[in-house]
Symmetry: C2
Amino acid sequence: MAAIPAHLPSRAAHVSAHVLGGGGGLFPEVLGAGRAGFRALRIGAPAGLGRAAGMEIIRSNFKDNLNKVYEAIEEADFLAIDGEFSGISDGPSVSTLTNGFDTPEERYQKLKKHSMDFLLFQFGLCSFKYDHAEAKYIMKSFNFYIFPKPFNRSSPDVKFVCQSSSIDFLANQGFDFNKVFRNGIPYLNQDEERQLREQYDEKRSQANGAATLSYISPNATKCPVTIPEDQKKFIERVVEQIEDLIQNEENKNLQLEPCTGFQRKLIYQTLSWKYPKGIHVETLETEKKERYIVISKVDEEERKRREQQKQAKEQEELSDAVGFSRVIHAIANSKGHSSCFGCNNKGKLVVGHNMLLDVMHTIHQFYCPLPEDLSEFKELAACVFPRLLDTKLMASTQPFKEIINNTSLAELEKRLKEIPFNPPEVESAEGFPSYDTASEQLHEAGYDAYITGLCFISMANYLGSFLSPPKNHVSARSKLIEPFFNKLFLMRVMDIPYLNLEGPDLQPKRDHVLHVTFPKEWKTSDLYQLFSAFGNIQVSWIDDTSAFVSLSQPEQVQIAVNTSRYAESYRIQTYAEYVEKKHEEKQAKRKWTEDSWKEMERKRLKTQYTPYIPQSRYYCGNSFTATSTMGKRSMSPIQEETGSDDMEEREIQETELDETDCYAESVPEGRKRAKKFKKVKKEQDPTGSITSGSTALFEVPDTW
Amino acid sequence: MAAIPAHLPSRAAHVSAHVLGGGGGLFPEVLGAGRAGFRALRIGAPAGLGRAAGMEIIRSNFKDNLNKVYEAIEEADFLAIDGEFSGISDGPSVSTLTNGFDTPEERYQKLKKHSMDFLLFQFGLCSFKYDHAEAKYIMKSFNFYIFPKPFNRSSPDVKFVCQSSSIDFLANQGFDFNKVFRNGIPYLNQDEERQLREQYDEKRSQANGAATLSYISPNATKCPVTIPEDQKKFIERVVEQIEDLIQNEENKNLQLEPCTGFQRKLIYQTLSWKYPKGIHVETLETEKKERYIVISKVDEEERKRREQQKQAKEQEELSDAVGFSRVIHAIANSKGHSSCFGCNNKGKLVVGHNMLLDVMHTIHQFYCPLPEDLSEFKELAACVFPRLLDTKLMASTQPFKEIINNTSLAELEKRLKEIPFNPPEVESAEGFPSYDTASEQLHEAGYDAYITGLCFISMANYLGSFLSPPKNHVSARSKLIEPFFNKLFLMRVMDIPYLNLEGPDLQPKRDHVLHVTFPKEWKTSDLYQLFSAFGNIQVSWIDDTSAFVSLSQPEQVQIAVNTSRYAESYRIQTYAEYVEKKHEEKQAKRKWTEDSWKEMERKRLKTQYTPYIPQSRYYCGNSFTATSTMGKRSMSPIQEETGSDDMEEREIQETELDETDCYAESVPEGRKRAKKFKKVKKEQDPTGSITSGSTALFEVPDTW
């Protein structure tokens, strides 16, 4: 057990997080092209940074390189991932996606509703393996182009949405859309894969039993086929020809004239009944795309050979169709290092920067449509990615938050090269492209995954400096990084720094927050005016006619509500009242399915009061490892205060000339005061439901 | 007046149409990559045809070439257009889009619902001008790449859908997606343009009157600004600095420190109140994207100069934002040739191949969302495209239908080079790219527009051969082609060849048609079996559990209904019963808005019983010419029989190995018999509503 270094909090203390601004790595790059709020974030995008080539994986070289990918995953100490999407929000504005007082459940629902119709069309995967002898990481970077090319006539014809601002942003980064659409690797989710497998199985069982198949086997003799009157002559003639073929020893094959599909079906049925054995029937196509039947005499051996050939071909077709999903399966199925105590061999650590949307998209696209509730999503995520680490959350948490001002990926990477951090020693593996540090500014998922990995290494190593004796290298299996596991950064939420995948989420006190409803003509300045008696406020727009307003002191809340009692144009209620009303509305809406509501209640209570032991109902058995031991350890960085540098709560659409985008900056004192009320956060929250659980949650492990 | 040539029907006779197969020009190319039904059509796609370069118009060269485009439109004898889209149908399958017994209204509703979320991202425009001296056409071809790049923070952030199969098909054709997304020309519809114009107007009027503008003019003195307590000091300091500036003769400018948007707003308001005259306030941005205010002393002349500069810049920004829509406006506003009798100078003839979807998309994207009803759409289309001609419809109509077997664009173009047609003499205008007839197989809208124009010329000229003396050249203004005006090909509808933009649509007798409901396990063969007693039938799938079945004789209909009376697994009703029930359901659904229903009824009756005189409620006044005289002439090719080569009614998803796609071919006799029942089509239709109107409709002009 390592001694507790002086700079780190002791066991009794709480690790505190500071959600600093600057935008997330993923968000500024993909969201960057969005509206007002997101524009500002784009400033933080990589500039002057070297870009990786990565190993480009497209449809044509996917199969040849798949073993390389598997190998990289298996040997890795950790993996870094990043995705590029065709859009972020299909709502009328991006602000509908993020409100500063979203609950994790609300945020999940919003992202699920507004973001999943976009396509994840580039996936970056970077594996890092530590070479102890050389004291450096060996890195393999892959950049996958992904596109749901329909592989046959019964395959899904996927429709996906593109958002102009996102596409425009990527275009400006030199993104190669032609590569995606012409050469993207196809994929199937679990359901589609199962359906396709069943199709093949059905065909095979038909071949071994029933009527319509190319191999007519002994037990196919069922009953005569009903042939429509007008087709009888046609079929009789075919049968005659086949009799000739069978009698005649010289001829091996018989080619019938092209005919209609219905006629071909009749032929297949008739032959399977009349000639259960010894002939092979196949449909071919002329140059003019007319289909015709070829009948050949085959012996048993030849029949088996053809059957095997056919099965092998089918298996390959199936694998090709599953395509890129196989890479995600490999990550999900990967084994953690056996020397890693406490991780239960759960799978590789997967690192990402501001990765909630990446994780949701990956699951949605390559596993299954996202589940209804956040709690179900947590179970599912644990199956696909048993161990995640979000570098944006890490950088926003003690001991980093004090020394890192801007957590956008590009800025973070720069910062982590400077004192007190050390730029990590990382080298491309042999046969993998190395980096050209002064080349084009391509926006590439593989490169972003690489940079994310570098950031993780620097921060992990920095934790080693607190040990005594200090360590230069902290591995991905060190207990030092466990507090950061499975907590995903929550973009632009004021008082909840992360989504906790391993248990219930934090429930901050919001007793300084008001919910205000007003005419749609109102602007932020009207709210400032309304609350001018209360000093500095922060406004979080919900929609055109409502917003959350946080006051600097909770005591002001009741005064504000009281003084507004007789107002006509606007309405003020406390956050608690708002939540209660929303809850009631929801309940009223669901009354018609009383039972399903009870089920929900039960689930909710279970989540709140019982230890979080997920029972995975997703394909954990077959494709990835079970996670029954997950969540037993819950050591968590918590947050003490919330900056708002990256919280431009509102997409500004007023037409006030140049005066449109800086309201969020206008209350610097407000931010300072905000620190005060956040300090009471760990007290009983309004509903009193989570306090005991969350106390346990913030325990710090012995090893610290 | 020209004599009636022997081959053409006399005045009393009816011009008959034959909707032959082979797929539409637009459809096979764009739909081609789709599912089963559409796959087959792809076969007809251009092969070995020379492809045009066209003049490529992208964002960067749009403005420089716009006058060339205007000139080409103005001088043209006719225009040809073609569009490429990011998809065709967002329904679960393309078959939901087309049923062989759709009414024009139903088809319009389907296309509107399922196809308008796609992006028209390439627009081909080809102008043809006849050079009498040289006896050849001079052609100018433009190929526009189109993308809704957001032009500023308040501009619409368009979301559009992509369909994998369509994208994949275009990708295989070498379509350049990078050019679309990186260099596409932006556009605005009429509403967006109006909003943007209002924004600029508002700014300007604010500048000349109110508070928040950069030019603080005399009448801006309203009242003191309410400044929040904590901002008072800040504003006071700013005012002091400005007093200094005004006193001090040496300094012309004052640069304030960067501050928040709220503070900048306060500064603007304060200054407009305190200094109504003589200073100029402007917001600039530092390299770090911080905004700051610069104040300068200006005299009246300088003020005016700056004001004008600013207005000119705004006007240019507005034009840039309207972008490609200006081309469509130019087409809509174009004047027909003054020597053209009867066309009332209504606008250029615009030719397209299978152009319904092109017309709908063009209007939807560059004018306004499509209206509720087909009748309103007809009015709107008359505003944007006063005179349309569909070469697929023309080729499917007498006297062409007898000698043209395949009306897909590529096949048609080939056919029209052979006897009895003459390949037209067409040459690129000077300075325009000419054609490389053996180069790449790019799928290019400009090229398809060009080919469409060639087809029109050949067919128009062929009509001249019937005149005495025969004419080699028939102009786009000839009465000979008027019967083909404003009738758009209706893809895959069995008994209605076209959508009539100039009046009510044809209402064919469907007394040989049954509507059948059955278990979702049923396949086409089950229906054949069910109706085996009735000879050959044609099946048009509606959805998984229903289809239209047409029998060869109307007399059989009642027998079928009677014999099925006690069936349990399926249900048969006549087409008339089905329509009535659907009508009742619709009525029940709308009962809650009794008035709106009455309004609809009124509209419907009006359409059916009164002469069709559209009252255009769309922006006809400003942007395009009024159309009050439209529709007075209704000479119409009608159809006598319906082939089904391109009517693969159902997307086949059965997993019957190779036995899946040929049912439609399986009733060759059925097709022949179909001719018989179609011959009674001109009798009273079941509802009796349209007969008198349609008789007038089929009159053939004296000039024939």
